[in-house]
Every structure is written in structure tokens, then in C-alpha cells.
Symmetry: C2
Subunit: 477 residues, 2 copies
């Protein structure tokens, strides 16, 4: 324990979850604050996670025919205003550029909060015939939303994301693409981030400004709060009509295109921290761990130990992302440091291990130790990385299921949210007034109407009128 104190201490999750989160992002060196209020520096350990997310998500996009593009970061005010709901949703929170060089601009430009309007302006000129469809474009960039309260990764004035924007000949094809991308997101979260998600549709109140339908994946954090982790929107032909995006169809008539958009952000890093982290710090799923294995020599001053540690590191380079900690700190300090930074496996090698022709593998997620013969090192590490990835998902799913409750009356509903935290499944009449009342009373919002509906009761949990949908409710980030 003395050694552990040498690594700066992290507030316990149970004492103060918000402070625990802040400690982890700072002390695992994922981010730093800046002189620019509400904006953050993403440091190497944080950015390397984002690079792994980008690489694997982008590969999944490309498998479905997505092509990457880049559009300007500025939107002329008149362009932003073309779709009524959209401008109402975003205008209050955009940053405005009013001067270029020493001159005032003739028209204000906003820094993109999202790029629907720019894509529409582009598609209007780029789409003429059914032969030009579908367009399935995506861009990786940063966007700006002038938030009042900010938290690293979860809500900041500038964040990194991808935004896909597609145009289709028919409503059916647009709806298909909307769901297809939601599925890509859900699979990515489960298979790469080891985060189980609920797929469903947002209510009218919670949907995206300008969308006909918004679909979402919702994840449950360790503290029982929900995090919207990715959304996919079907716009129908609303934007196409506002912008005049028409094509000549096979039957030679002019038709409006149907559009979608979908996005995921650096907020996913916040989800990884809050789903998998523990009181020792970060716990990274192997597939997004920039360092998967950390080799730590024991009694490294003894003859041959450091050489052996170097040899094992070199061997492991062929099968994983590995680093050697050969600093002059004590092994205990290095263990605590490796734990705080969330490396999935640490390898311990000392004189006794060398004599016995073995080393010790210690899992970050369970802290379980195994002795393995040096001959089998690579294969055992690979197996263990696979097992960690798989079991982290299972554990997160179990936690999520344990913290998912059912309420068939308002009393039950209130009681659960007062005593516990998690998702609550309850019936809803479909009226926004009930959502408003629940939000007012409990600071709880409808997370989604899940695709997998259950019949919990006949009546709305709030007003008692006949129920239309089962809804996941929760407190959200």
C-alpha cells in the first residue's frame, strides 16, 4: 500500500464518482485543461485511444461502402437557416465568426456544430440523376457547441467525431441505412469497446433537430447513469425539400432524395472510463488499449534481469502493443502506475522466475495472476488478451442487467430512482407531457423506445392512460 501512495491517489468511486472520473482522466494523462474555456487538450495516452477507435470504426464503415470526404468548418448564417427545426436546435449554441483578417465579414459564419446544411448544399450540386445515388459519405473532424457546463470527453465546447451523411433514391433505402449504421455502432461498442448497448428510437422530444426519426444506442455507466453513445437519424426528404436536392429517377421524373446522418464522438472515451474503470484507475479493453502489455522487471539490477525483460518485450512486439518499464522506480510503484493507466496485462519477470523458466502475467481487470512458461509467452498473452476482451463485455453486461429495473406504477418508478440508479423500463402513453413531468420531478429522461419491446403494464407509468411503448428511462450524462 505504501507503494500505491507513491502513485498520486485517485478518489474512490463510491465516495465521489465525478471526482473519481476527473482524477482518472487527469492522472492517466488522457487530457489536460487549457486557457480556452470549455476546450481540452487530448494528450498522447488519450489520443492514441481515439486513433484506435477511428481505425476500427472507419474499417467497419468502409465495409458497408462509406467513402470519406472533408467539408468546410464554416457555415454561412443563411445556409444554417434553411431548415427551420435544425436552425432552432443549433443556433443558440454555435460560435460565430464575424471578422476575417482585419475586415468584418459581409455574412456571419458559424463554426459547424454539425454539417447537415453543408452536405445538403454540396449534394444539391453533386446529385442530378439516380445514377449519382446513393451517396454514402462520412467525415472525421471536430465540431463546436457553445456549452455552458463542460466535462472532459463527455461535454466540451469542441469535440472530435465522425459524421456520416447519406442521400438515397427512396425512403426505404434511407431507413435501411439509418438502421444499418446503428447496428454498426452497436456491434462496434460491444466487440471493440466491450460496452453493451440498448438499441432503440428516441421520442419526439429527444430526437435530433430536423430529423423524422432518431435512433440511439444507450449504455449504462458504472454509477448507473446512462450515456447516449451514438445516434443515427433519418431525415426523410425534409432537408431535400428545404435545399432543393432533386434527381431524375429512372422513370424520368424529378424526385427529392431521402437523407440520413449518424455520428459518434470522443465521448466514447468517457464511456470506456466509466464502464470499465475502477478505484485503481483506468481499465482498457485490449482492442482500444494503446499499450496492451507492460513488462516490469523485478530486481532489475540483478544480472541478466533487464536483458531478459528486454528480450521478452521484443518477442511480444510481434503479437501485441507492448512497452517495457525500465525506469528506476520500484516494482510496486510500477505496478500501481500500470494499473492507473489501464494496461490490460502486466508481465513480471525477476531472478526467481528466470531460474524457473517462467514469468507472471497479471490481468488488469481481475488482478488475477498466472505463471506461464517463457516458451509459451506469446500464445498465452494472446489468449489472455482475447479472454480479457470477452470477459470485460460479459462483466459490463451483467452490471447493466443488474441495474436495469422494471416499474409498473409511478410509486415504484419514483422509489427506484430514489433508492437506486440504473435503467428503468416502464410503459409510456406517447405524450410529451408525461416525459416533461418525469424530467421535472426526477431529472430522469426517456433514453429510448427499445427495438426489443416488452409488455410491462397496460397503462402509462405516469398518467395512467393506455400505454403505447415500453421506454428505457434514466438519468443521463
Amino acid at each position: 500500500m505504501a507503494d500505491k501512495k507513491m502513485v498520486e491517489e485517485i478518489t474512490s468511486m463510491d465516495v465521489d464518482f465525478a471526482q473519481w472520473y476527473t482524477d482518472v482522466v487527469k492522472k492517466a494523462e488522457l487530457i489536460d485543461y487549457t486557457s480556452v474555456k470549455g476546450c481540452m487538450v487530448i494528450k498522447p495516452a488519450g489520443y492514441a485511444i481515439w486513433e484506435l477507435i477511428q481505425k476500427q470504426l472507419d474499417a467497419r464503415f468502409k465495409e458497408t461502402g462509406v467513402e470519406n470526404v472533408y467539408l468546410p468548418m464554416f457555415i454561412p448564417e443563411s445556409l444554417l437557416q434553411k431548415e427551420k427545426d435544425h436552425v432552432e436546435g443549433f443556433a443558440p449554441e454555435v460560435a460565430w465568426v464575424t471578422h476575417g483578417g482585419l475586415q468584418p465579414l459581409q455574412e456571419r459564419l458559424c463554426v459547424r456544430p454539425t454539417s447537415e446544411t453543408l452536405f445538403c448544399d454540396f449534394y444539391k450540386n453533386d446529385i442530378h440523376s439516380y445514377r449519382d445515388l446513393p451517396k454514402v459519405y462520412n467525415q472525421w473532424c471536430s465540431v463546436v457547441r457553445w456549452e455552458k457546463e463542460t466535462r472532459p470527453f463527455l461535454r466540451s465546447r469542441e469535440f472530435l467525431w465522425q459524421e456520416g451523411h447519406t442521400a438515397h433514391a427512396t425512403a426505404e433505402e434511407a431507413e435501411q441505412r439509418t438502421i444499418q449504421m446503428l447496428d454498426v455502432y452497436a456491434d462496434f461498442c460491444e466487440e471493440v469497446l466491450a460496452i453493451p448497448v440498448i438499441k432503440g428510437q428516441k421520442t419526439e422530444k429527444e430526437k435530433f433537430a430536423g430529423a423524422v426519426a432518431t435512433y440511439t444506442i444507450e449504455a449504462l455507466m458504472h454509477d448507473g447513469k446512462a450515456l447516449q453513445s451514438g445516434t443515427s437519424h433519418n431525415f426523410g426528404d425534409g432537408f431535400a425539400k428545404a435545399f432543393g436536392i432533386q434527381f431524375a429517377d429512372k422513370d424520368n421524373t424529378l424526385k427529392y432524395v431521402h437523407q440520413t446522418s449518424w455520428g459518434m464522438t470522443t465521448r466514447l472515451i468517457g464511456a470506456i472510463i466509466m464502464v470499465h474503470g475502477d478505484n485503481e484507475g483506468l481499465v482498457l479493453p485490449p482492442k482500444v488499449a494503446p499499450i496492451q502489455v507492460c513488462v516490469i522487471p523485478i530486481q532489475q539490477k540483478k544480472e541478466g534481469v533487464l536483458e531478459k525483460a528486454r528480450e521478452l518485450t521484443e518477442r511480444l512486439k510481434k503479437v501485441c502493443r507492448v512497452k517495457l518499464d525500465d525506469t528506476d522506480k520500484s516494482p510496486g510503484w510500477k505496478f500501481a502506475d500500470a494499473e492507473m493507466r489501464g494496461y490490460p496485462i502486466r508481465v513480471e519477470i525477476g531472478p526467481k522466475d528466470m531460474e524457473a523458466g517462467r514469468c507472471v502475467l497479471c490481468r488488469r481487470d481481475t488482478r488475477e495472476k498466472t505463471e506461464v512458461s517463457l516458451e509459451e509467452l506469446e500464445s498465452r498473452v494472446e489468449e489472455l488478451l482475447d479472454a480479457i476482451q470477452r470477459e470485460m463485455l460479459e462483466r459490463a453486461r451483467k452490471h447493466r442487467d443488474l441495474h436495469t429495473y422494471t416499474a409498473s406504477s409511478m410509486d415504484e418508478f419514483v422509489k427506484i430512482f430514489h433508492e437506486r440508479s440504473g435503467f428503468v423500463k416502464a410503459m409510456w402513453c406517447g405524450e410529451q407531457s408525461c416525459e416533461d413531468e418525469i424530467k421535472e420531478k426526477l431529472s430522469v429522461t426517456s433514453r429510448c423506445m427499445p427495438f426489443e419491446q416488452e409488455h410491462i403494464a397496460d397503462t402509462c407509468v405516469c398518467c395512467g392512460k393506455p400505454a403505447k411503448k415500453m421506454v428505457y428511462w434514466g438519468k443521463a450524462y
Copy 2:
């Protein structure tokens, strides 16, 4: 020729090089113009080139120990003003954000034109001891400079780039890193883009705002104009003093860090077009060609042809980036289209070829055709891609050398720039007045003082005073 006309025509280079360039970027679908003046859409065929540049350049960075980060896109006005030369260089061409949401900001923010000041602000808090050094960080992002005249890829109000920013304990180490990154850039241009470059130092007049020394790589375009293709700056401790970035050295005294920065941009795509392109369109070096091979069936309605073309495409997928053109256009149209888009190799396969168990490979760069046995397809394509990559560099070098002249008097100097276009090597006294005079008279600037100096004359080509340096002069983009 009738077939060629079916592909929209490109202005001949010799008639109007600027129009040829514009035609190529538009018709090869690399970019599109937008409603945002001076900003462009980078379309899939253009962005895919940038992705290949990023991937290969980033890998070279990481081999030298570079770590990626992300800093905010906004710079508070007070921060930009901390280094006097720097603010003077950039303030006249930045975009200013004055409102966030519905509120005016207390302090204006500029959209980063470059991030020296942000990195300094970050390093000031992140660097304490010699143990924290060196910092070798880089970011991939977009930057904004409010240019008056813009051209796709070459000069636009927003462009994509990478910017490396490093901090070191000693002046020597900073200088070493500055040169090391210039070498990375030069090797990348030659080995990946097949563009030979001149390495050298910028004069005082041409160096970066705030730098002690700016190094550059200069390339020669097909029209004989120069393009600055990458720069690397040594800042000494100027920024460190302005921002107060100090560290406790091993001897326990406080010292200022020494800094560098270095950047390459989407302008490289402009260089690829203008170095390798011809009157049929784009010519892409295989290493940055998103599609390296295009398979075109001849008489594709004949039995078995399309199947065979598909089979060859599948086989080639294992060794290169390949696409099949199975549209209902004529082979002639497809050839012209593939040429315009710059695919390094096209594979022609028709009934006669099938009978003979062969196909035809046609190189984009030389238009040379070779018949190859179907059995050898993969190996011959791989060899040919290597040969094209190598020979494109050789050809570009030959062109550059042929258009590099020597002048030992002002008469010669003027005559060359009146009659020809290219680099002119000439001596210089070191005075800015001579640079100013040459620029005024001929619109020619000093491109660099090359590392490989030659003795051409004893006296300055302009004023006749004793010469200090041999300089490459040229008209520049």
C-alpha cells in the same frame, strides 16, 4: 479520339496551365467548390489520397518517436499576442470568433492559423523537469488563414495539415530535430510521392514568423514554378521566454526549453497533380493511388468475359488496390476515364486475350502496353507498380534538373526568367534589399539556400557585392 471526347475534355497544359489544373481537380473529382468563399469540399477521390498520405507520413513520424495529440481550434487573442513576431505574421489573416451562442465573448478567439501559442500554453504547465523532455507531439487538424486569392489545394482559407511541435532541453537537440523532420519530409516526398525536392534554409525575409531558422523542401512543378512542400522551424528559446516554459535541469538550475515546429498540408495533393499530371489528366504514384489497378473488360457482353474480369479483380485484391469497371460504357470511354483519374495500371481482358491465356497491362505514366500471361498476373502487376513508382521519380528528377539553370550575372538571370521557367541557381550577398529588388522586377523569390552549396560566382547576382550564399530562385505558388 471520339471516345476520348466522351470523357469531358481537359484544357491542354501548354495552352493554359492554370486552367488545366482546375480542369483536372474538378474532372478527376478531387474537389468541389462551396458556398463558403475560399473553402472547398475534398471529395472521395481527393480525400482518399490524403488518407494515404496521412497513413504513410504518420508511420514515419512514429518511427522517430512522435506522439499524436489534439489541441483546441481556438486561440484567445491575448495568447496569440504573446510572441511579437508571431502575432504580426498571423493577425492580419485570421478569422475571429466574437460570439458564443447568443452572447458576445469577453475575449475574441481566433480560429487557429497554426498552434505554436497553444502548444506553448500547454507545455508551460506540462513541462517541469528534464525528465519531462523531450516532448515530440504532433496533431492532424485543419487550420484557417483568411487568404484573398484561393486555389484548390494550393491556397485555401481552410486546409488540412499536420503540425509537429517539440520541446527540448538543449539548442543542439532542437536543431537536430528540426533537420531530422525535414529529412523525413524529403524522404517521404521522394519515396512516396515520387517528387524530388531541394532541401535548404529560408532567408530571413522568407522565414516563419517567430522562428530563428526555417528549413524547407522545394519542388518544381511541371510549369516550372516552385512549390514549397514542407517546412521545419527552429524557434530557439524565443517562444519559451515569451511564455515562460522552464524546466529544472539535471544540475538543478531552471532553464528555458528550445522548440521546433514542422508541417505538411493538403497542398501536397496539388504538388502530385502538377508534377506528374499530363494532358489526359491525373497521374498518381502507386503509393498514394487509392485505386492502383482498374480492370476493364473488352466486349464484356461476350460469354465469360465479365466473369473472367471479376476473377482477375478478385485475384488482384490480394496484392493491390483494384477496381473493376463493369459499367455499360464503351472500352474507349473507360480507358479515357481511367486515364483522367490517374489509375497507375489498367488491365484489359477480352475474348481474344482469354483464348490466349493472357491480358494486357497498360501503364498510365508511359501508356506502354505489355501482354502478360494470366498465370503471372499478380507478380507482374506488383513489379509494374514498383517500376512505375521508381520511374515517376526518375522522370520528375530529370524534368527538375532540365529546368534548373545557373546565372552568374543579372543579365543572365533576367534573360532566363524571361525566356524559360524553372529554378535558377545564383549567388546572393545576404541583403534583403536584393531579394526585394528581384521580387519587384521579376516576381521571383528566393526559394532556399540549399544545404548543397555550389560556387557559381564570387559576387551577388543582384548588387555585385561579395556573395555569401548560393540561392535557388523561382516563381512560386
